[in-house]
Symmetry: C2
Subunit: 492 residues, 2 copies
């Protein structure tokens, strides 16, 4: 359906389907990892060479593997992880921690010289304890989203963390990259769901105390959250779980003016109503993902609770929309929020299909304060459209808000452009550099929830305060003196 | 009133009032700070030697000043702060950052050998910018609570951060110590109100970007939050402000059983109702602070909003209380929540008056998960009562919850014991060590919002993961190579 809608917008694009290659040639492993759980199978190594970005899909389609891990290690216990870091520190072999491999920023790719192993945590996938009194669970880092929820379900609780990569990603990956969940407000970031972390570092195992809150020095957990495998390997965490929602209320509100739609969204974000969903889709996004015609965009609103009705909160949010010219769509005219939700879940599959057709299909995201949003949005959109026109001629830029805060939104942009088969990666790289420069110049963050990885390093280095960079390098030196952990990510 | 209620509980205590000393003898300054904004006035130095803990009040009453800063420096600009750190790094003079001096953990006391200066930020007290669109304000770190709110009021916004020390403490102090506000849930910790920080370190000025959210590496702000003056001097921050509340609803619910009161409070904390106040007072606390007789304690509930009525939320919370045997007190029988609020604000004054009467009056606090609360509470109460019996004979231990989280409460304990004038400090130290050991053994945090300072170091060192300690020491080495910043706090 998305392909049909995209081709309606790009009628001249050549959308010939290209099949992936049938085989892959890899160089021989440069290092022999002395572990029973080591694999040097070429397909295994190739499957761990890339993440899931557009650039990864394209390179996979062209069988381009400039860097592959020399082995894939699948530890079965935390002690195995300790052994791997000891061995790798001694032999100076780089270790790239690998959860579901859904990085879209080059976070799991051994893009450096020298031998490396991919440390695949997927065998550590158990929910170890559930504490229903405190509503918390101890879970191993390698558990994928669906498996994790399936283990929680018999206890009638949920982690309620649903990033778009949910099926393809693990708790440890979410923690290491500060993942953002599906929900628009309040406790949606994995950061806020953490009670304590257990992390294997080359300098020893770090375990924080299970605490609902603490003011004892800087938070140890916050140092490891977002460390992207550079400071240690997260092996398990106590996370906060929730009773399953019983009450729900939702609406889709159509706007005829984009500035009014933004103003309404801001009013809701600042009203302490805490919607579960508050996703503003711009007109193109609304058309592509829900087939909706709305000149000012559509705001998808949802509230939910495990304890009490939420109709009054929805009513108040809709009232704020009306005050800004929004009109709720009658439910019988099509449930945009349901449409939208299913398209959100299908998106990773659809993106891959479009890439096979020679399309440039990718997303980028940021966050900024409300006072700067209009200028950032104009600059980013212009930079994207200019770059698309330059490299690809025809294309579409879409925007939606994935998360809204009282002080600003997290806009998420989509690019759909007609690429030239064989050149789409270079074309995308030029667009990506242009939009990243625009984001940096407009004061946004280079990433709100996709992480830094290797692709965002130039802009991340400019964004972070230099004294913090010095402190982070020093912390890494203390925890990873041999410098084996995910080289090239965050610090050098 | 508190004195009368305490003496009712401790009828045999000798409550003779002792006046503070009329003068103070200090050693001559060991260092001459070459700044126009330096003061070596003895009273100024004495006033900056201690915080506001019971141990500080007692030592002040006895004119005991074992450590005083050699000068008090009051920078007028951030450039002055840079100059002070440059000079102090060159001369190896310790710098103790000082906001309002309300530390209750020895955080501002130069409890070490060698020369030191107290860096009093109180001249940097301006609200510099207010961004009403994003609801944020740029504020200098030395602004005291009331002055900060007075500057925000013309803009019809509030920071809504009211720690018990509100009158006596500054924004910078709140940030450096991860202060907890008055409100029981949601955005009450200063950590969550921070958009960006500006920090002068000996290695340079660190300024984070104004962002509502970011996933770019570990949070730079979270490294400085809770750093207690050891990594740098916070000079200003962008903080999130709020529209002033228009709707309020409150109730006080009386319980006949403490376990039921705890269960009701847990149910409310896990219902996503987000009360502004959800303060469970145990029977003694309810009597001492509100004159209320309630065998199971009193739960003080309040809801507030700037946008919408909150009666339904209060009703649901009260219903949860009824399901656990709680009975809301009719308003005409005395407004416990109002009583309690005024006693909260008066407490610092009352504590000082009781200390003059030879009483041991002090508080300590922690946080723990709900599943461990009963055991922690029993152990801490027993340790406190044993220690009181041993050192003072008669005394009272009280408990209230200052903050509640879905996964656990933050219990706050009060001690009222009949001390021996001249020995109350040693008596308190023995009680404090006993309760701190009990907290540590029961898995609580040594501090939920009072910070670590110098008094909590032994237990903090055991609580934090050792790899994190190594990382923090390395970070300090990078930012403060001469080791001048608040020696003895957090790291050595």
């Amino acid at each position: 359906m998305l392909a049909q809608r995209v081709s309606a917008l790009l009628p001249v694009a050549d959308l010939t389907d290209h099949a992936p290659p049938s085989e892959v040639q890899l160089p021989a492993p440069r290092v022999s990892a002395p572990f029973a759980f080591a694999s040097t199978d070429p397909l295994d190594r190739a499957a761990h060479a890339h993440g899931k970005a557009f650039r990864d899909v394209v390179r996979n389609l062209h069988a381009e593997f400039p860097h592959t891990p020399d082995a894939v290690l699948r530890p079965r216990t935390e002690a195995d992880v300790v052994d791997v870091l000891d061995w790798a520190s001694g032999e100076t072999v780089a270790v790239v921690p690998y959860g579901g491999g859904s990085s879209v920023v080059g976070g799991v790719e051994p893009r450096f010289d020298g031998p490396s192993v991919s440390l695949d945590l997927s065998a550590l996938d158990q929910v170890l304890e559930v504490d229903l009194v405190s509503r918390a669970a101890r879970i191993q880092a390698g558990a994928f989203g669906p498996h994790l929820e399936a283990q929680l379900k018999p206890h009638d609780v949920t982690l309620r963390h649903f990033p778009q990569s949910f099926e393809f990603s693990t708790l440890g990956g979410w923690l290491a990259t500060r993942a953002g969940g599906h929900f628009a407000t309040l406790y949606t970031h994995i950061d806020d769901l953490v009670e304590s972390l257990r992390v294997v570092t080359p300098a020893g195992v770090s375990e924080s105390r299970r605490l609902p809150g603490s003011g004892a020095g800087p938070s140890p957990d916050r140092m490891f959250l977002g460390s992207e495998g550079t400071l240690g390997v997260i092996t398990e965490a106590w996370v906060r779980v929730h009773a399953r929602p019983q009450w729900r209320a939702q609406a889709a509100v159509r706007f005829t003016s984009w500035p009014s739609a933004v103003a309404a969204t801001r009013a809701i974000a600042q009203a302490a109503l805490y919607p579960a969903n508050c996703r503003l889709l711009d007109p193109t996004e609304a058309f592509l993902n829900a087939g909706t015609d709305a000149p000012g965009g559509v705001l998808v609103l949802a509230f939910e609770s495990a304890d009490h009705p939420v109709d009054a909160a929805l009513e108040r949010a809709v009232q704020l929309c009306r005050e800004h010219g929004g009109e709720p769509r009658p439910r019988e005219q099509g449930d945009t929020s349901g449409d939208w939700r299913s398209s959100f879940v299908r998106m990773p599959y659809q993106r891959d299909a479009l890439a096979r057709m020679g399309m440039i299909v990718e997303t980028f995201e940021t966050a900024t304060t409300w006072d700067r949003f209009d200028a950032l949005h104009a600059a980013v959109t212009a930079a994207a459209q200019d770059a698309i026109a330059r490299v690809a001629g025809a294309g579409v830029v879409t925007c939606r808000f994935t998360h809204v805060y009282p002080d600003g939104p997290a806009p998420y942009y989509g690019i759909y452009a007609a690429g030239r088969w064989g050149s789409t990666l270079a074309q995308w790289d030029e667009i990506k550099a242009a939009v990243s420069e625009a984001i940096a110049a407009a004061g946004g963050t280079i990433t709100h929830h996709h992480a830094v990885g290797r692709d965002h390093r130039p802009w991340y280095d400019r964004q972070r305060p230099e004294p913090f960079a010095a402190a982070l390098r020093a912390a890494k030196g203390a925890l990873d003196p041999a410098g084996i952990l995910n080289p090239g990510v965050l610090v050098d």
